[in-house]
């Protein structure tokens, strides 16, 4: 028995030595965005390097658009500059299809990943990026103001209810706006909100033959509703407001409701940062009775570029950073409320995590988004608030600029839609989608 133990111990020791020798002096360069969860991970990497002493980590933290440009340049030329990339649900299916990413093999308990998120990061059943955190969008509201308006927020509100509540909650003399929504131009800014909202009104970016649909009544209804609501109940200068501006407005009590990323929840209930922390309620994004809600689906995920020379070490790192063990590590150091949300089924089954006030609503919101059938009518594309084709970034940003100018009052709804239709038609024809 003693000799068996000795042999096992020696064997384990040799295996560990071999494993660390295999990664001796391996340096992984990880490109990432600057958000709270990613910064937290950088502080916790001792846990990874202690278990993998041969692997060193270099971080490249950049602004989202700069990162996207650099990572795209690196991956399309197979530069090998980065070993691990932070990318989203927009890039993953496009890059996975082109063979620019390595299929992931080291992900801990793949079947535990939330199906909607996993689906958005897979191509033909193969996982090309492992979710670091996932998010949808939902409605955050002030319970005290709702009560004052004599209304009760339903679990699944309609747009009509939201509009009525927003108008009743508005008290501009006291600096309270009934609703705060994104207006800043950008495919990931106002178009994330408007794209998801348009789905609930039955609109779509393209029909089955890739013809743009801004000339259809569903888009007119979406945009007119948004503009009227913001005019009556939105904050001044809303065409410049994105996530950060609306977060600050909500935290300081200047918004009755805010429909935005589920990731905002931890910020609005943090009593250190939010003056309204005790009065915040959460509910699903609204619908218009057509069977689709106006919520999006997004995930920041870790992927490995095909040009890397350190694929094995990179697989190990991605496996660690997106594992259940990592979630527990964050919980032990910073509490369950700070765990990266929206990735694993087991997290939402954890009784400790269920105590977090926005946990259930986040899960329900993520589960109600379907990137493969985003809207009421059939579409030829994947993506809820975006269209997973390379041309979308340019088109989405331009259409976002047009709609932002409609919100600023510089263009009418009809003219804005005409411009969006004409621009998108030209781009899609140029790109060969429309013959």
């Amino acid at each position: 028995m003693k000799s068996l133990l000795l042999k096992t111990g020696l064997g384990a020791g040799v295996a560990m030595m071999l494993a660390s020798a295999a990664f001796a002096d391996t340096t992984l360069t990880i490109a990432t965005v600057n958000n709270g969860d990613m910064i937290r991970m950088q502080k916790l990497t001792d846990d990874f390097t202690a278990a993998n002493p041969g692997i060193k980590l270099n971080w490249v933290t950049l602004e989202e658009n700069v990162l996207r440009e650099k990572v795209t340049a690196d991956i399309s030329t197979k530069g090998g500059q980065y070993d691990v990339l932070t990318i989203g649900t927009y890039e993953t299916p496009i890059w996975g299809k082109k063979g620019w990413l390595v299929p992931l093999t080291g992900v801990d308990k793949v079947d535990d990943l939330l199906p909607a998120i996993r689906g958005g990061l897979s191509v033909e059943g193969k996982l090309y990026a492992s979710p670091f955190y996932g998010e949808s969008s939902f409605t955050m509201y002030r319970k005290d103001l709702m009560e004052k308006a004599g209304l009760k927020m339903p679990d699944a509100p309609t747009w009509d209810f939201i509009a009525e509540a927003a108008r009743k909650m508005t008290d501009r003399a006291n600096g309270v706006n009934g609703i705060c929504l994104r207006g800043k131009a950008g495919w990931g800014e106002n178009m994330a909100f408007l794209g998801a909202t348009s789905n609930s009104f039955g609109a779509r970016w393209f029909d089955e033959s890739w013809k743009p649909q801004f000339d259809q009544p569903e888009w007119k209804k979406t945009l007119q509703f948004y503009i009227d609501l913001m005019k009556d109940a939105g904050p001044a200068g809303a065409s410049g407001n994105g996530f950060s501006e609306n977060l600050a407005l909500f935290q300081t009590g200047k918004c009755g409701m805010w429909i935005d990323a589920t990731a905002a929840a931890s910020f609005v209930v943090d009593p250190k940062a939010s003056q309204v922390a005790a009065n915040v309620g959460f509910t699903l994004a609204p619908d218009a009775g057509l069977g689709k809600r106006g919520n999006w689906l997004w995930s920041w995920a870790l992927a490995i570029p095909a040009g890397t020379k350190q694929a094995d070490a990179a697989q190990k790192f991605v496996g660690w950073a997106t594992s259940q063990h990592y979630l527990e590590l964050v919980a032990s150091k910073e509490g369950w409320a700070n765990v990266p949300p929206g990735t694993r089924t087991s997290l939402y089954a954890n009784p400790e995590y269920q105590k977090v006030p926005f946990a259930k609503m986040t899960l329900d919101s993520i589960n109600s988004a379907d990137p493969t059938k985003p809207t009421v009518k059939p579409v030829p594309y994947v993506g809820v608030q975006f269209v997973a084709i390379p041309e979308f970034q340019g088109i989405g940003t331009k259409v976002g600029e047009i709609f932002s100018s409609v919100l600023a009052g510089q263009t009418s709804v009809d003219d804005g839609l005409k411009q969006a239709q004409a621009f998108t038609m030209t781009q899609m024809t140029k790109a060969g989608y429309i013959k």
Partner: protein
């Protein structure tokens, strides 16, 4: 005899100068003040003043990033590329100013024309060369790019200064038996020193603030303060105050350098302006 300036005229000129000065300094002042605000005040209070001043943002930036590494890279790239630029530009400008040929004017114009092309036009070939030779994130290749970027401007500035030096003085020194080296070091250099100093300072400032190429061609090892600033823009949460703190820390060294050398800068920039 100097022309008399009326007090009203002096007052108006002073007021205009101050207005222009304040307008130009406004974004920097706004950034510096924002860096001392809370994140909420930074977003919600566009006015200059805050309800609660704080040093917290500097603490967070200091804790999260290796500022000294980025600053050291900025020093290496900015000073290195400028010094290298002077090594090439002084002889070039000297020869064009004092021994012009038929093609000097065309050469000068051609050099300036390279600055007219938007940098993005050269991005793809340069990026691919850097990738193939494994130069991305390496100090020397990035330094060379920055040197080439500012070289036309350095030559032009020095050429303008050198042109203001009367050729008669050089001829007189030759009559006294001075060789080319003595002419350069004993006669030309002391006279051109303010011009060289201001060219040096201006180009250090330009290279320090260069963001297009440094963001594209560096990541970790050679990344200067421009990359450090870019890492504080966030897709989520509030970040304006932290971003402003990072920007303030990034511009502080060059601002201090500019402050202390403003006499030389002004002297150099107005060199030869009044004959």
């Amino acid at each position: 005899m100097a022309r008399q300036t009326s007090p009203q005229r002096k007052l108006i000129v002073t007021l205009i100068a101050w207005t222009i000065g304040i307008l130009m300094f406004w974004p920097i002042l706004w950034t510096i003040l924002t860096s001392f605000k809370t994140e909420q005040d930074a977003v919600l209070m566009p006015q200059l003043f805050s309800t609660g001043w704080t040093f917290e943002n500097f603490g967070i930036v200091q804790e999260r990033s290796d500022y000294l590494r980025f600053a050291m890279n900025s020093i290496i790239l900015a000073f290195g590329s400028t010094l290298l630029g002077l090594v090439f530009a002084i002889p070039a400008a000297w020869s064009m100013a004092f021994s012009p040929s038929k093609r000097t004017k065309d050469t000068l114009l051609w050099m300036l024309s390279t600055k007219m092309m938007p940098p993005v036009g050269a991005l793809l070939p340069i990026y691919l060369i850097f990738k193939d030779y494994h130069w991305i994130d390496q100090h020397i290749p990035v330094l060379v790019i920055m040197f080439m970027l500012n070289l036309p401007l350095v030559i032009w500035m020095l050429f303008t200064y050198f042109k203001e030096i009367p050729v008669d003085i050089l001829e007189a020194s030759r009559m006294d038996g001075a060789g080319v080296w003595q002419e350069l070091t004993r006669v030309l250099a002391p006279m051109a020193l303010p011009g060289i100093a201001s060219t040096f300072l201006l180009n250090v400032i330009l290279a320090w603030n260069e963001a297009f190429w440094t963001l594209k061609l560096t990541d970790v090892h050679a990344a200067p303060l421009t990359v450090f600033i870019a890492s504080y823009s966030s897709p989520e949460g509030l970040f304006w105050a932290k971003l402003s703190a990072a920007s303030t820390m990034a511009i502080a060294p060059i601002l201090i350098l500019g402050w202390f050398s403003q006499k030389q800068l002004v002297r150099g920039l107005t060199f030869g302006a009044v004959k």
